[in-house]
Symmetry: C2
């Protein structure tokens, strides 16, 4: 059995573009509903930072995560959000263990 | 309609106690299955920090989150993990917007 992989991805938009970044990432998230092995892809804003968006990802295994990351950027809708970013995304890599919300 | 609330909680165990902290938090997570409004309570280890554990929480609304936080510590099983912590937990507060994994 392969182990699940997850990550928190923090993206910061150029000033004032936090809402547009969240909208764009929601479209990416909708596309992930059909991605094999995608268990969670939740878009979050944060009350602490107006222009930051966090994405919570959980994948069934490393292979499904890699496949989604290597997907054509335009196909995933990520191309539309790149111009909104103030800098590169930051990642916290996770090894999900269990709990409510995991199948 | 009340808005969902979420958070990432980072806890760091005393050196070598990361696995025990994750085990204790998994027990807390199992108890959360019956907590009203608990949508996610996922325990994660991270390859980047041997003794850190992250918990991904999503609640149906502020009231259900508050009710769980105010639960008796012993009842939730949090009492057992407190002695393992090297310091106070850190929180990133979230406003979940949508995506796969949210009902």
């Amino acid at each position: 059995m392969s182990a699940r992989v997850g990550r928190y991805v923090r993206m910061v938009a150029t000033p004032g573009d936090g809402p547009a970044l969240a909208e764009g990432l929601l479209k990416v998230a909708e596309g992930m509903r059909s991605a094999p092995g995608c268990e969670l892809y939740i878009v979050n804003r944060t009350p602490d930072e107006e222009d930051a968006v966090w994405v919570t990802e959980v994948w069934a295994d490393e292979a499904s995560s890699d496949a989604a990351l290597n997907q054509d950027l335009g196909e995933a809708g990520l191309g539309a959000i790149l111009p909104l970013l103030a800098g590169p995304p930051e990642f916290i890599e996770l090894a999900p263990v269990g709990g409510p919300g995991l199948a």
